[in-house]
């Protein structure tokens, strides 16, 4: 298969054709079937990644802390199960981990303010996805995870626009503890301390 051109689009060259056909067949620069342009990026955190324009999600208001970032894609990485990364296309080093809140909080019932539904042009419940920002902090050999239940990320799946929405009049918090686990180094130390040199 031909290499990607500098513009990041795939092209098929005549050298791909079997030799006995290459003289007789002229390849047009546009392929016969309509395919979307596939963009390739080298992500500092996830390596090579490709996406199409229809996979891009717009965040017209950015995100708190990243108000100027407007274009994202969502991706999964084999090394982080159950995490969907909101990857910025404008600052490649920025990727925010999101997760399905109902996986950990089955009763989560966010009440979305009208400003959110209107601004995201949401018309029906099946139109949108809700995910929450996951924060992981390391301290004293422990990793603590928190989920922001107060401000879910809401994405209109049909229009491909998203926004982080602050819930109103709610008791949900930004730093809702999820899980605490020890880092691998700590666990090994603890095991050896307990069992000695067996």
């Amino acid at each position: 298969m031909n290499m990607n051109s500098a513009l990041g689009t795939e092209t098929i060259s005549s050298s791909d054709m079997p030799n006995n056909l290459s003289k007789d067949v002229t390849m047009e620069s546009t392929t016969i079937r309509q395919t979307e342009v596939r963009h390739f990026v080298d992500l500092p955190r996830f390596g090579s990644f490709h996406y199409t324009d229809s996979e891009t999600i717009a965040f017209p208001w950015g995100l708190p802390g990243f108000a100027d970032l407007r274009r994202f894609v969502v991706l999964t990485s084999p090394s982080t199960e159950n995490v969907i990364w909101l990857q910025s296309l404008e600052r490649l080093e920025i990727a925010i981990p999101l997760t399905d809140p109902w996986r950990m909080f089955g009763d989560y019932s966010p009440s979305l303010p009208e400003s959110a539904l209107l601004s995201l042009e949401i018309q029906a419940p099946e139109d949108f996805a809700i995910m929450n920002v996951l924060v992981a902090e390391s301290a004293d050999g422990e990793v603590r995870q928190f989920l922001n239940l107060l401000a879910p990320v809401v994405i209109n799946l049909k229009k491909k626009i998203g926004r982080q929405v602050m819930l109103e009049g709610t008791t949900y918090t930004v730093r809702t503890p999820v899980a605490t686990y020890q880092t691998e180094a700590e666990t090994i130390d603890a095991f050896e301390a307990h069992h000695g040199d067996e």
Binding site: Y51, S77, P78, I94, A95, S111, P125, L134, L157, M166
Partner: protein, 92 residues
Amino acid sequence: MLVLSRKLNQSIMIGDDVEIIIVSVDRDQVKLGIKAPREIAVHRSEVYQEIQRANESAATSILETDDEKLETGTANPAVLRAAPKNKTTKTP
């Protein structure tokens, strides 16, 4: 930063669509009324700042390390699913 003095019941216009009214003043607490179009979100600043800090912290997340990234395969586009219908409501 623009600083304006207002007395009780006076108000401030921000742009053409947002009005802030001094509803009551009681010692060190001021009650503000906000008139804004429904699509504009209005929130207490400290909550917004807390969300900001959480996002900044999450963006430089330690969830995965560079070593892990090199060992495992490439990232793939995620498929998003709609939120469960019976869990999300609209604020009246």
